[in-house]
């Protein structure tokens, strides 16, 4: 909401500068989001009078004006405005002025004629969007005075952020009350005097409330014989300064009072109301109304409407109807001021997608005690600015009048909650300034009985009063201390530890961490070729997604990483090594996953460490390292028929018979779907399952005291034999004396028979109890060779 400094000052006296006021309000919880100085950018613009006009010799659409700005000589100004005429008063931007629209006024020649300034439109001055012609000023303004002085434009606009609990601050008087809390100065309410005529309002109209729960109060006045017209400058300018466009005097007055009191008003054309009367009721099934914005709206029975004898004429608290609105021919006005149930207004506004200044206030809660002061203020202004006479009396139907809320406040509770040492008097003073009534209830117990004013409907509990005290005392004046309570004993979290270890391991391996949205496109399952019955397809769907790309929740991290690879490839980045740790959304659970991708090129890409494409064993090695950092051993691999992967280059990682993850080369069709021109390697592990078997315990193993003996061994076996078979036989044959076996070469080619491959191992023999002799090692090694030959038909390669 916007307020201006000058306008605010009409309700309360204060000495603050604009900046100080902004600071004070902000520290009271009314955040000033921006401060805009009005008028300062119009320095150099003065009031001028067009003395004479003659045609421009070289241009049909331009004229030459002699303009009096109070100096000895008049200025010649070239002008193209259609409404320029002799005797007219208009703003003149003199030489050297910088206008808000960026134009700098310089001495110029237009089609050969000198121009010493510019006659301005409202748009050129940044006052409104009106660019149709020169801004016409009243001829009683002294010629030559500053334009902003002449119009009282020197003002400061504050853009305020009013939190939803403070509807009382959605008005000038409301903001003034906050200033009162700060200064203690009194609020100056407008003086209202209404001259009524003899005709009794009760004889010419009536108000019936059929739904008192939804409309606890409804007041009406009738003003007859008004003349609809433009509002005076001061009113238009007030409204424009807070961003409300002027319409006509009656509507402008209701908007003015809305801003002043925060009470939305509505003016009906009295003569367009069926039987000239008002019925406040819920809409009938199938009823419709065309609102002021010329939209036809279908109503439902839970919506509250203002009706005449026959039909709805307004959506209660939201917007008036088109049929009964004030027009140029309106003569008699029925003015409405009411209090509507916030929830009802909110529900209707939401259902219709219609938010207005009125609904904004009603749904947050207005002050029912404002109903009459506001309607009287508006009535008075209508008589002043639009003429007419006021019917005698006011209709004020008030079925929902409530007792004032009384709360008990324990001053020591205030200090207990805040950590302050405020004394009871300070507390009382703060509450009084805020408009609360404070009485001592039980002197001995030091409890206050606090009466809550009707405009503070957000205050319903002792704690709300404590916040008010804190706010006005100043949060910055509350001392700062550290918690004194016991620190609870933390519990350990294995999953966190698994996550942390694997993450550090992968970072150390050169993988970059990615974070993707939890959303994805439903077609991602097709893109990674999941079978139609794959349970991963059972994803949660958003009711209100931002786009199809973000319409379901991920059940696997792989599509996101493939998209990341695609994005990077499209930007010529082809050294792709990424991982992501995140929950996925599966079967009503949110299991944690870790997934990684290697694609394009790995390596340093420098002399001596060239880029090279990754292969299956790079991704496999990463997974193995990750498992080892969690103290996991004894996992197995098995090939799978997961269609995401190359059928011959994938493996599930098994612990016992449980799959804890999968890894492999992406299927060529997957690559096609993500428009990737090179092989891509992926893995995804189930972190919960890893956490279940993770073992971070470490035990010292003695460092070998006896030397070990290394022997190399190259064997030729069938090409399709898995390399871990010979490895297993070496271990089982050598028993405890085989410390380790390392496969250091695999060879297929001319040097071996077709259909065969050569595997080369380094075996480390070692005993923990003695130094092995050459003979012992030789015998053992021979035995290994023999077993390999017997069990696998392995031939020693010479």
């Amino acid at each position: 909401m916007n307020v201006t400094l000058n306008w605010l000052k009409t309700y309360i006296d204060f000495e603050f500068s604009a900046k100080e006021l902004a600071d004070r309000l902000t520290m009271l919880g009314i955040e000033v989001e921006s401060i805009k100085e009005l008028g300062t950018s119009l320095e150099g613009v003065v009031v001028g009078k067009v003395d004479s006009i003659r045609p421009h010799p070289n241009a049909d659409k331009l004229v030459l004006c002699q303009v009096d700005i109070g100096d000895e000589d008049t200025l010649q100004i070239v002008c193209g405005a259609p409404n320029a005429r002799e005797g007219m008063f208009a703003p003149v931007a003199t030489i050297g002025t910088d206008l808000p629209n960026g134009i700098s006024i310089k001495r110029a020649k237009l089609r050969g004629e000198e121009s010493h300034g510019m006659l301005c439109s409202e748009k050129e001055l940044g006052i409104s969007e009106d660019a149709a012609g020169l801004m016409e000023l009243s001829s009683d303004i002294p010629i030559g005075i500053g334009f902003t002085d002449a119009l009282g434009l020197d003002d400061t606009i504050f853009e305020l952020e009013i939190t939803p609990n403070r509807p009382d601050c959605l008005s000038l008087i409301g903001v003034a009350r906050e200033v009162r809390a700060e200064t203690g100065n009194d609020i100056k309410l407008p003086e209202v005097n209404i001259q009524e005529d003899d005709s009794d309002i009760c004889e010419i109209t009536s108000v019936t409330i059929d739904a008192p729960d939804l409309c606890p109060r409804y007041a009406a006045r009738v003003i007859r014989g008004v003349k609809i017209g433009e509002s005076p400058d001061w009113l238009k300018q007030r409204l424009e300064s807070v961003g409300i466009g002027a319409i006509n005097n009656i509507v402008d007055i209701t908007n003015f009072v809305l801003m002043e009191y925060g009470q939305p008003l509505h003016a009906f054309d009295y003569n367009k109301l069926g039987e000239n009367r008002i019925v406040v009721r819920q809409a009938a099934e199938g009823e419709q109304i065309t609102t002021l914005d010329e939209e036809e709206r279908k109503l439902t029975p839970d919506m509250l409407v203002i009706a005449d004898a026959e039909r709805p004429v307004a959506l209660a608290g939201i917007m008036g109807g088109n049929d009964s609105e004030i027009t140029d021919t309106t003569c008699d006005v029925l003015l409405e001021s009411a209090y509507f149930d916030p929830s009802s207004v909110r529900a209707t506004a939401k259902a219709l997608g219609l938010n207005t200044e009125a609904s904004y206030r009603f749904e947050r809660g207005t002050d029912p005690e404002n109903v009459v002061p506001a309607i009287d203020r508006a009535t008075q202004l209508i008589v002043e600015l639009a003429g007419g006479t006021v019917c005698k009396g006011i209709i004020d139907v008030y079925p929902g009048k409530c007792e004032l809320l009384q709360l008990q406040l324990r001053p020591e509770r205030v200090n207990f909650i805040l950590g302050t040492e405020l004394d009871a008097d300070e507390i009382r003073q703060i509450l009084s300034r805020l408009g609360f009534g404070v009485d001592t209830l039980q002197q001995q117990d030091n409890i206050y009985q606090v009466t809550v004013p009707t405009f503070r409907r957000d205050i319903t509990r002792e704690i709300d009063l404590i916040e008010e005290i804190a706010r006005v005392h100043g949060y910055d004046n509350i001392p700062t201390s550290l918690p004194k309570g016991d620190i609870p004993i933390p519990t350990t979290n294995v999953l966190d530890e698994v996550r942390r270890r694997i993450k550090h391991y992968l970072l150390g391996s050169g993988m970059m961490e990615a974070i993707n949205y939890s959303f994805c496109h439903p077609n991602c399952f097709d893109k990674i070729r999941l079978t139609v019955d794959n349970p991963l397809r059972d994803a949660l769907k958003l009711q209100n997604p931002l786009s199809p790309e973000m319409s379901i929740l991920r059940t696997t991290l792989l599509p996101s990483l493939l998209e990341n690879a695609q994005h990077n490839h499209n930007h010529q980045i082809d050294t792709i090594a990424l991982f992501e740790i995140s929950t996925v959304f599966l079967n009503g659970n949110e299991p944690a996953r870790i997934a990684g991708i290697l694609a394009g090129e790995i390596g340093g890409g420098v002399y001596g460490n060239p880029y090279h494409p990754p292969d299956f064993f790079d991704i496999k090695g990463l997974v193995e390292g990750a498992l080892e950092t969690c103290g996991i051993a004894d996992w197995k691999y098995a090939k799978t028929d997961e269609p995401t992967f190359h059928p011959g280059r994938n493996a599930e990682v098994l612990l016992g018979d449980q799959r804890i993850g999968i890894l492999g080369e992406a299927h060529p069709e997957v690559l096609e779907n993500y428009e990737l021109p090179y092989k891509v390697y992926l893995f995804e592990l189930d972190l919960e399952k890893l956490a279940y078997v993770a073992d971070f315990s470490k035990r010292f193993e003695p460092i070998p005291v006896y030397p070990s003996v290394l022997r190399d061994l190259a064997i030729v076996v069938d090409q399709d034999m898995p390399s871990d078979m010979p490895m297993g036989i070496i271990y089982s044959t050598g028993g405890d004396l085989v410390e380790s076996v390392r496969l250091f070469d695999v060879y297929v080619g001319d040097q071996v028979q077709e259909g065969k491959k050569s595997l080369a191992y380094t075996i480390t023999y070692h005993s923990t109890t003695e130094t092995l002799t050459d003979k012992e090692v030789n015998d053992l090694h021979e035995n290994v060779i023999k077993q390999l030959n017997q069990e696998l038909g392995a031939e020693l390669r010479m």
Binding site: A347, T420, I463, Y607
Partner: protein, 338 residues
């Protein structure tokens, strides 16, 4: 013979001076010490000397031999170190060739920030807990004192799922879940993802939050200030000031927003802080009694405070990324910068 020995010594030492290579030294060594070498020849003649002469000449011969051996050794060492020097020079590398960095990865910038926040609060005794991202209206709103028709719900544009659940709009539901399962004292922080229907340069539909909660027999607003001021100093530097402004959250009362001195202008006022010198970084407040009632805590017996901050926002105070959606593109040129 004595003259002969002395001549050999002089001649050999002279000859050594001219030796330039290991080969030259070797042939010189053979010339003197070889089987037919000059010194060997002289030594061979020792047998013909008289009994009296023998020990004298013998002694002299040994001295000459020893001194020449030393001289040869010295020359050899000199040649070797000279040779090594040459070899080392020949092995010079072009020091401008690129170093071979071991591959190293980097944590995502949002995670780096989140981990920093976590470590500051864990040092103050807060335990990290997490909770589900798919939530119910109850945990996300109702239990946090935000009933269905409350205007505060407008502040959170919520993603709903077709099954009636929603994506949590903040990590605050974990407050409720924790208090339901634990007796006070509670001292937790809740890092995690949250979701709101928002997508522009300063909003992503998924973002990260850190929520904090401290509940005990007597926790004051003053302590809330202390914890957050301490956090701000550790996070943004010892000189950082923090101010608290009244604000509104349904689940705290009194509520506050906290600002720190602008990280760009240090409080002078600049474009980044809207010329106020302050930057808003988090929301906080004393736990509302209604929230305690929702989890069966007695608000007359315990008090507490809660706070919540957006990780992207805090990360970006440092990184100053003009469009925060860049965080989630995972462009490697971006990720490598942090």
């Amino acid at each position: 013979m004595k003259t002969e020995l002395e001549a050999i010594q002089v001649a050999a030492q002279e000859a050594l001076k001219d030796v330039k290579t290991a080969e030259g030294l070797e042939s010189l060594r053979i010339e003197y010490f070889g089987r037919r070498g000059k010194l060997t020849d002289v030594m061979k003649g020792m047998g013909q000397l008289s009994k009296e002469e023998r020990p004298v000449i013998g002694k002299l011969a040994n001295e000459v031999r020893a001194s020449l051996t030393d001289a040869f050794e010295a020359t050899k060492n000199a040649l070797e170190s000279e040779h090594q020097e040459e070899q080392l020079i020949a092995e010079s590398v072009d020091i401008t060739l690129p170093g071979r960095k071991p591959a190293y990865g980097k944590a995502h910038p949002v995670m780096q920030t989140l981990e920093r926040i976590e470590s500051i609060f864990t040092q103050m005794g807060f335990q990290v807990v997490t909770g589900p991202e798919v939530e119910t209206e109850h945990y996300n709103f109702d239990a946090l004192n935000t009933p269905p028709d409350h205007p505060a719900r407008d502040l959170h544009d919520t993603f709903y799922l077709t099954d009636g659940h929603l994506l949590r709009t903040h990590t605050s539901p974990v407050q409720i879940r924790t208090m339901e399962n634990q007796k006070p004292p509670v001292r937790i922080i809740v890092p995690g993802k949250a979701y709101r229907v928002d997508y522009d340069v300063s909003h992503t539909p998924m973002f990260h939050q850190v929520e904090g909660l401290l509940v005990d027999k007597h926790v004051t607003f003053s302590e809330l200030k202390g914890v957050l001021v301490s956090f701000a100093r550790q996070m943004f530097g010892d000189q950082t000031l923090m101010r608290f402004r009244p604000h509104f959250f349904p689940f705290t009362e009194p509520s506050a927003e906290a600002d720190i001195t602008c990280t760009v202008c240090r409080g002078e006022g600049c474009r980044s802080c809207g010329h106020t010198g302050w930057i808003e970084i988090l929301g906080a407040g004393a736990v509302d009694p209604e929230v305690f009632r929702a989890v069966n805590y007695n608000p007359e017996e315990v008090t507490g405070f809660a706070f919540g901050m957006g990780v992207e926002r805090i990360a970006n105070l440092q990184f100053r990324i003009p469009d925060i959606r860049t965080f989630y593109e995972n462009d490697l040129r971006f990720l490598r910068q942090f």
